[in-house]
């Protein structure tokens, strides 16, 4: 991902309410977010929200 796109993506972080339903790691270029089951979800770039749905994290 180009640097500008990455910056844009990170700026577009969204607050996801609730707690994570399962452990999951987003590892994508310079982005590395570890999500733990039962813990409050951190803010994540919008582009990964669909992934979290598909993975059953949210």
């Amino acid at each position: 991902m180009a640097r500008k796109e990455k910056e844009d993506a990170i700026e577009e972080t969204v607050a996801v309410s609730g707690v994570a339903k399962k452990d999951f790691v987003i590892h994508h270029n310079e982005v590395h977010i570890e999500i733990k089951k039962g813990e409050k979800l951190p803010d994540i770039p919008e582009m990964y929200k669909e992934n979290l749905k598909t993975e059953g994290v949210i």
């Binding site: 991902m1 796109e5 993506a9 999951f24 790691v25 987003i26 590892h27 994508h28 270029n29 982005v31 590395h32 582009m47 990964y48 669909e50 992934n51 749905k53 598909t54 993975e55």
Partner: protein, 298 residues
Amino acid sequence: MALSQPRPIFSIHSLAAYNRVTKLPYGKQIEVLAGSNLASSQELIDLQGGSSFDNWATERGIRTMELSVTFREYPDWLFRLLLGKNPTVNAAEASGNVGTVANYNGTSTVDATTGIASVTAISGSETDLKLGTYIIKVASATTVDIYALSDLDFATGTDGVFVDDTMKITSSAETIATGADTNITGFGFKLTGGSGAIGMTIGDTAIVEVRPINTGSSEVTIGSRSEVFCNFGLYMTGQRMGDGRMVTIDAFNATGGGLPINMTEKAWSEGEVTFKLAYDAVQDGLFKYQYVEGSSAC
């Protein structure tokens, strides 16, 4: 008048194969040769019978002509003539080459919408491309692990490493996101996510073949149903001797099959192939032997 000089033959210089219809060579002559032997044998059939201790007569039976050659180089035409398939020759690739990614097990990994749409070189990181066959395995619905089958070329560009004994090259499962590039750091290529919501099947695999920056390559798949074999001519020469004497052998109709390739610890691969020589009606013969006397003057 004094006796003439003897006619020895010394060493070997080259072996070329040519098309029997046009006489044009199939490619560059082989020069890294270990040796050759033109063997000719003929069965002798005896007439025996009665109380005689000795043969009543002997007549000639089947004659066999074989040319065995041992070589230490592998031009493309050897594959065409001995294994039935012409290699695909690729020109120099100044930016390397990332082949077309293809599903291998299952159908979900490569998908323009819900999987990986493409695998391409990272612009500006082509020097990190390393020769190899890379396997992309779906780790979860939106992530993949990547494996390599050898670390042969891992020192090219940024050093590559296997992260564990599974021969995985990615330390964490790589996320595939909609329409986004996922760079495989240090390996010079990237995976681009499909246009829709990503959803792959765990365990499915895809493969992609990568070549580093190079000055040319060739590749061939042996054993396919599209193999075609043809007879060919062979032109072999001995080493030119110090006084200018030269020997050539032109076999008009040769047949051969099989191409030994051996990778041995600290040794060059050496292939020994035996060609059978048959009658050529156009040339009316099996082979032509030529010996040219030198002038002694240099």
